[in-house]
């Protein structure tokens, strides 16, 4: 069941913090008449597209004219842009001069075509990055980097860095994600949408139907990790932590992730573990992935997010929003979301994860208390209404 097609700011009153909707409305009044332009590589897929799809109508309804432009290029441009993004996020790539020239030429073409005359132009990610080379003099331009760019591929960074002074500012998700930048750097953490399929309220009937369809029995508690079936997400480490716990507690472990796109080795290993222990349940998510994850998170007793490396890892906030304590590793944005010992635990090792799982399973009242605090933390710090306000605040600050 999908959520309402057209969401208004008023729809968030029931879930946002006290006074937050009025705050956004009043904040918008302070920047009414100014024009905000977002540019991304795509209108679909990914967190930023979902956030813009949701917030654009809201911001426009508040009287702040906001448009969303897409950079368009050939298939070769798209492939080059994907390579550039991987290199920017620290995965070594083969990047040729021809690829960089193609990226630049496509951005020059798009700059001539797109209406980029905002008071604030926000360029998201790496594909449209070079639009700034043809920016108009008027208005302020900010580059929005999503994810960890602290160790970019040197060759790529040397190329991009030449254009950075053309920007007025950069916007990053957390301090450690920032590469060295010669321009002002601002922080805006990403957010979750409590009205999206992933996080909306779900009846117990629907939840049960989804768990049945995913073949997750409901006769005993289960632990959950959400993430790709890759070494980086360390599902084997989570299985090992579960095995420590299983000696004392009759629980299941559910590992849910999308269909692997770069080989099935890790998924095969997880399936092998599941064959040896029927209480280990790997789930390859299908088309209804967001609502299925919603049901899985609501049904879980404790959520584990133990990647070896991560970007902001908003899966943590998604689980916390369902009132679940999360045990997570100290990578990416996970420590920003978990308030250690208050909403969950930040752990460094398999043994640490196992210890905290047993600690919680031995203290059911603590599960409830940490889970409730987790939901309140997300309500105040990681809901889309906060990110919407942050964007308006940045518009106010950069264009004052």
């Amino acid at each position: 069941m999908a959520g309402p097609v057209r969401i208004t700011l008023d729809d968030y009153r029931a879930v946002a913090p006290r006074g937050a909707v009025e705050f956004v409305m009043r904040l918008a009044e302070t920047v009414r008449g100014r024009r905000l332009v977002h540019v991304t590589a795509s209108r679909y897929g990914g967190g930023i597209a979902a956030t813009l799809n949701r917030t654009l109508p809201v911001v426009n309804a508040l009287g702040v004219e906001t448009t969303w432009e897409i950079i368009v290029g050939t298939a070769e441009f798209d492939a080059s842009a994907r390579t550039l993004a991987l290199a920017l996020h620290g995965t070594e790539q083969v990047v040729t001069e021809a690829m960089l020239e193609r990226l630049h030429a496509t951005c020059v073409d798009n700059a001539a075509r797109l209406p980029l005359d905002g008071d604030l132009v926000m360029i998201h990610g790496s594909a449209p990055f070079l639009l700034v080379d043809r920016r108009p003099d008027a208005g302020r331009w900010a580059w929005r980097g999503h994810g960890d760019m602290s160790a970019p591929q040197a060759q790529v960074w040397a190329f991009l860095r030449r254009f950075l002074p053309r920007y007025d500012a950069a916007v990053l998700s957390r301090p450690s994600f920032a590469p060295p930048l010669p321009i002002p750097r601002f922080l805006i953490a990403p957010s979750v949408d409590p009205l999206a399929d992933r996080n909306r309220d779900m009846s117990r009937v629907e939840q049960a139907q989804r768990l049945d369809r995913l073949a997750v029995p409901r006769d005993k508690p289960y632990l959950l990790q959400v993430g790709d079936f890759t070494r980086m997400q360390d599902p084997q480490g989570v299985i090992n932590a579960y095995r420590h716990v299983k000696k004392r507690h009759d629980v299941r472990l559910v590992l849910a992730g999308p269909e692997p796109i770069a080989g099935t080795t890790v998924l095969d290993e997880v399936r092998e573990a599941a064959q040896a222990d029927p209480d280990v349940i790997p789930i390859v998510l299908g088309a209804d992935r967001d609502a299925d994850l919603n049901a899985l998170e609501r049904g879980a007793t404790i959520v584990v997010q133990k990647p070896l490396r991560a970007d902001f890892a908003l899966d943590v906030a998604c689980a916390m929003w369902k009132g679940k304590p999360v045990i997570g590793s100290p990578v990416g944005g996970i420590p920003d979301q978990i308030v250690n010992h208050a909403t969950g635990f930040v752990v460094n090792t398999v043994e640490g994860a196992a210890f905290r799982l047993r600690h919680l399973l031995n203290s059911p009242e603590l599960i409830g208390r940490l889970g409730a605090a987790a939901r309140e933390t997300v309500r105040h710090r990681f809901l889309i209404t906060r990110e919407l306000a942050d964007h308006l605040g940045l518009l106010a600050h950069l264009t004052k």
Partner: protein, 217 residues
């Protein structure tokens, strides 16, 4: 006499990374000595705006970082007890933090721990937001305070007292000069904002106001 209305403002913190980075306690000390007032504000009182409901274990970013990244709970506890409101000024606050770090380094082991993730200095640009809520009586003030965005607590109590130089905060000032209630002003000014969250601060203010209205439990 009709009281001067109290107009509620909220605020939004635009966070800017300003550097430098500190990897250990000595580097933190050196950076603190030269950090701007805005940066000091951001990492002490400013943490309340970033964590309006769930106060972290330590009330300022310096103590939090020392505990989590350096694993030095002794230093973290001592930094946590540097009270931004008691200090009286940002210069005094800086001096107190520097004194704690200097004394600790003087007595501490030669091999100081190094953080996996450095301390990164931020600066907060506070964007004031008129909330469209005004109070002309104690009752209206109490009801307004109960409903406004938590950032109003920050703006009128923390920002006003700590950075804008309005010594007792806007609530206490209005209680005295707007309502003519110095007794209430004194009680509001005494509320300890150092340890806790903005929502806890709201609860404490409401308790005092309910008492003044004769509706407290």
């Amino acid at each position: 006499m009709t009281p001067i209305p109290f107009v509620f403002h909220g605020c939004l913190a635009v966070q800017e990374l300003v550097g430098p980075e500190a990897g250990d306690a000595r580097a933190l000390l050196e950076a603190l000595a030269h950090a701007s007032d805005e940066t000091l504000f951001t990492h002490t009182a400013g943490t309340m705006l970033r964590r309006p409901v769930q106060a972290d274990v330590y009330p300022n970013d310096f103590a939090m970082w020392v505990a989590t990244e350096l694993g030095d709970r002794t230093l973290a506890e001592r930094l946590a007890m540097v009270d931004v409101f008691d200090a009286g000024s940002l210069d005094a606050l800086r001096a107190n933090l520097v004194a704690v770090l200097e004394e600790h380094l003087h007595r501490g082991p030669a091999a100081a721990p190094v953080a996996a993730e450095p301390f990164v200095f931020l600066r907060t640009h506070v964007v004031p937001v008129p909330l469209g809520v005004a109070a002309r009586s104690l009752r209206e003030f109490r009801d307004g305070l109960a409903e406004v965005h938590a950032s109003a607590l920050f703006y009128h109590v923390v920002e006003a007292r700590y950075r804008l130089g309005r010594d007792r905060g806007d609530f206490a000032d209005w209680a005295e000069h707007g309502l003519g209630r110095p007794d209430l002003a004194a009680r509001l000014a005494r509320i300890d904002a150092h340890v806790g969250s903005l929502e806890r601060l709201r609860d404490r203010c409401l308790t005092v106001l309910d008492d003044a209205l004769g509706t407290g439990s």
